[in-house]
């Protein structure tokens, strides 16, 4: 299984970060208190930011930490505190439902792993960094305000509509 993978610093860092991400994901599935589950997800988001750094997307890694690990996790914690914050996931009765869910998840994962690893598909050979010595933020800015201006504007409209809609939904007037 480890054939062809040499132990460079990058590979070791990748395996450590993925181990952290998967461990936090499994903690999400196995912990009982809802509050701890939300914290475990914060760990997953930080680990994914590390993966982004390995993919040479530094700007997106910072955005990931700010947006996901900061804002979204805090919003989840707020929502948990506003609902039943001491709730515990009840022990699942032995029904067919979790079994089918596990079969679906493992089946999908098996198909993807088969295609990536064992089907003899030839992936592109890894090249050196295409953005060697260039500023990631500058590249993203040029692309965003050159090629993708219209989608960028649309996304900002969607964002403001969603936020105003969220406030309207959550802010119910007392009659």
């Amino acid at each position: 299984m480890f054939g062809g993978i040499e132990f460079t610093g990058q590979n070791i860092a990748f395996f450590l970060i993925s181990l952290f991400v998967i461990a936090c994901g499994v903690m999400l599935l196995s912990l009982r208190k809802v509050l701890y589950m939300a914290l475990a997800v914060g760990g997953v988001f930080i680990g994914v930011a590390g993966i982004y750094v390995m993919l040479e997307a530094e700007f997106l890694a910072f955005i990931q930490i700010l947006l996901y690990a900061g804002a979204i996790t805090i919003m989840m914690l707020f929502a948990i505190m506003l609902t039943k914050h001491d709730e515990v996931e009840k022990a699942q009765k032995v029904t067919a439902h979790p079994v089918w869910a596990a079969i679906a998840a493992v089946g999908l994962g098996g198909i993807v792993l088969y295609v990536t690893k064992f089907s003899g598909l030839r992936w592109p050979t890894p090249t050196d960094s295409p953005w060697e010595g260039q500023d990631n933020v500058k590249l993203i800015g040029e692309s965003l305000f050159g090629q993708f201006v219209i989608p960028f504007e649309l996304v900002s409209v969607v964002l403001i509509v969603a936020l105003v809609g969220a406030i309207t939904l959550a802010n119910k007037e007392e009659k």
């Binding site: 809802v34 040479e56 979204i72």
Partner: protein
């Protein structure tokens, strides 16, 4: 040298964890969190193909940026909906949210 396979494998594992959580968890916030995990897995794939794919380009990073923005909007609307549901029905269990069940 890292390759695209490793990142796709990690993305697949993360996606499956999110899928299982979204299908089995009872608390509505945890279901939302699991959907976020799946979105993160997709973002990893986008970035992996943008860096190690056949034609490396900046477009994958831009798409990831858009996906993150839409995910933030989705979380805002989802939390607003669940808070108003909680206010009306006093429960945070997905199995009790059957308002639109036929």
């Amino acid at each position: 040298m890292l390759s695209v396979e490793q990142f796709i494998t990690l993305g697949a594992i993360l996606f499956c964890i999110g899928l299982y959580g979204a299908l089995t968890k009872r608390n509505i916030i945890i279901v939302l969190v699991s959907v976020e995990l799946m979105l993160n897995a997709v973002n990893i794939n986008l970035l992996a193909f943008s860096r190690f794919g056949l034609m490396p380009s900046m477009n994958g990073q831009i798409f990831t940026l858009f996906a993150m923005t839409i995910a933030a909007a989705e979380v805002a609307v989802g939390l607003a909906i669940l808070i108003s549901l909680y206010r009306n029905r006093n429960t945070s269990d997905v199995r009790d949210q059957d308002l639109m069940k036929w």
